[in-house]
Amino acid sequence: MPINPKDIEWVEEPAMNFWESTYLPAVFDGLRTTGQHVADFHPVTEFYPEQKPDLPSHYRGVHRLNRDDKGRVKCVACMMCATACPARCIDIVAQDAPKDDPHWADRDKFPKSFVIDELKCIYCGMCEEACPVDSIELTNIFDLTGMSRQEMMFDKEKLLSVFDQTKDSAHNPVRTHKGKLGHASDFTNLHTLGPATSVRADDRSAKANSAGVIE
């Protein structure tokens, strides 16, 4: 269908005034602007490798796995992050916490292996949003390099070491404020939801009162 000419609005270039049509004043005006930048020189660039950029603390860079107060990995291997991850780059193998070890008394599971493919990751931060115990967090390390693809598969040890490196820096505050593990770990105060997946009968979440269970 042809466009109704009434609907067309032609944008005309504005008429040039006398000085504009002589070109030169505009040229001198431009020269004045550029000349001022030369005369009053304040570079906005940084000497990059020597001078690191001052990134905001919500910058999303390399991941870390936080430690809890006992120095264990905080992750409870709930797979939330792996489920949320749009790039499917988190690979977790969970392991039951040893039942008779008092050291692990407050945990059901922990990750036996936890691998993030940093090359596949799109640094969207969904994993951090999803994690119920604030275990996985994105730091503002951005200059990640490696000699091989294998090197860029960050395993648990590497992710924990990133935590050790960054926890004290002003830009990467540990963002957990509640409970030993995080707000989700306050089992007594929280309404637990019914297990979304099948869990073994001795798992605490199987026994907990939850919104889906009518007593």
Binding site: P5, E12, M16, F18, G30, T34, F41, F47
Partner: protein
């Protein structure tokens, strides 16, 4: 002392010694200056854009040209398989050759008045006494477009070909205002020799500089010369946004470097010409007069000329980072509708002054009047052509439009 050295040579060789020496000096200095001008341009653009610019090689990046040169020399010299090899290799050579050749008649210092090739005086010009110096320069610099056309054509690449076509159209158009703008100078001086035009101004003092009589010609000359050298805002032939790299898209390594060298030599020539033709060359009141004889006065004159030329080089580089590129129709419009008529009228003004033996100072208000008149015509004339009809689509789709 130089005369004794010359006398060691056999009779037939003597006239060649001084030109050879001068050529060697000019070539070497030109190469060095060009590479540092590139650094200066990069620094200048960085400063304008609030950046720091090259600063890694040597203190303040001063060794950057050396690194660039090494890179260009050591890079693999690719000749693509689809090119016409002979012309492809020839083109950068032509480009450098013609721009260097143009410099032959440009004096770069106080040319001695009674110069003979064998008397041992340093000539400060490669080819002294060329009476048609101006014509020679314009003839040779317009040959430079052959390098561009051949390069673009031989590359067998549509971007290169388009760039080359643009370049040829542009150079042909701007040749005319360029030549016209200096006709007035030739009339005023009564000579086409660049040295004579310079001496004429130097003898007349600072109020005899041609800029006072031919300010409009100076502007036209400068703009047209920049277009001739394919410098921004007139670098339509290599504009990256449309043509990848323009006519040198297929060139790399030192062959590309030669094109670049040619362009910068051209810029240097323009700057020298502008300062010589319009700003008195090496003349400066009190410190560099034609009759100043103090020790080192020659050196001072060379320095004065170099300073003036350097100032113009800076202006050209600043303009590059200040003004956006013209559209091609604007470019052609500027040449044919503005510069050529203005340059012609300017020549007419000079003729009137000469014919009726008026005071030369009449040329200043005349130039101003021409300039203002052009602006006035510009405000009036450009509008109606730009307006569109109210029913543009109805024209395009005849029967559809009538159906509504």
């Amino acid at each position: 002392m130089l005369e004794q050295i010359i006398n060691w040579f056999p009779e037939w060789a003597r006239p060649f010694i001084m030109p050879m020496l001068t050529i060697a000096i000019v070539l070497q200095v030109n190469l060095g200056v060009c590479s540092y001008l590139i650094l200066l341009e990069r620094k200048l653009s960085a400063w304008m854009q609030d950046r720091i610019g090259p600063n890694r090689v040597g203190p303040w990046g001063l060794l950057q040209p050396v690194a660039d040169m090494l890179k260009l020399l050591l890079k693999e010299d690719v000749i693509p398989g689809h090119v016409n090899k002979f012309l492809y290799v020839l083109a950068p050579g032509i480009s450098v050759f013609t721009t260097m050749l143009a410099f032959a008649v440009v004096p770069f210092g106080p040319v001695p008045r009674n110069l003979s090739a064998t008397d041992g005086q340093f000539p400060y010009i490669i080819a002294p006494g060329v009476d048609l110096g101006l014509v020679f320069i314009f003839a040779v610099t317009s040959l430079a477009v052959y390098g561009i056309i051949l390069g673009g054509w031989a590359s067998n690449n549509k971007y290169s070909a388009l760039g080359a076509m643009r370049a040829s159209a542009q150079v042909v158009s701007y040749e005319i205002p360029l030549g016209m703008s200096v006709v007035g100078l030739a009339l005023l001086t009564g000579s086409m020799s660049i040295e004579k035009i310079l001496l004429h101004q130097a003898d007349a003092g600072i109020l005899g500089w041609n800029i006072w009589f031919q300010p409009l010609a100076c502007v036209i000359f400068f703009a047209a010369a920049m277009a001739e050298a394919q410098r921004l805002p007139f670098d339509l032939s290599e504009c990256e946004q449309e043509l990848v790299g323009g006519w040198h898209t297929e060139y790399s390594a030192m062959k590309w470097g030669l094109f670049f060298l040619g362009e910068y030599t051209h810029v240097i020539t323009i700057s020298f010409l502008t300062s010589i033709l319009f700003f008195g060359g090496w003349h400066f009141p009190w410190i560099a007069e034609p009759d100043s004889q103090y020790l080192g006065s020659t050196l001072v004159k060379v320095l004065v000329l170099l300073t003036k030329s350097f100032a113009f080089i800076i202006v050209i580089q600043m303009l590059r980072w200040t003004i956006p590129r013209f559209r091609f129709d604007q470019l052609m419009g500027l040449a044919w509708k503005v510069l050529i008529p203005l340059a012609t009228l300017n020549v007419v003004c000079v003729m009137i002054v000469k014919q009726f033996h008026l005071n030369e100072w009449w040329l200043l208000p005349m130039s101003a009047a021409l300039f203002l008149g052009a602006g006035l015509i510009g405000t009036q004339s450009s509008r109606p052509f730009a307006r569109r009809t109210s029913e543009p689509v109805a024209e395009a789709h005849g029967h559809h439009a009538h159906a509504h």
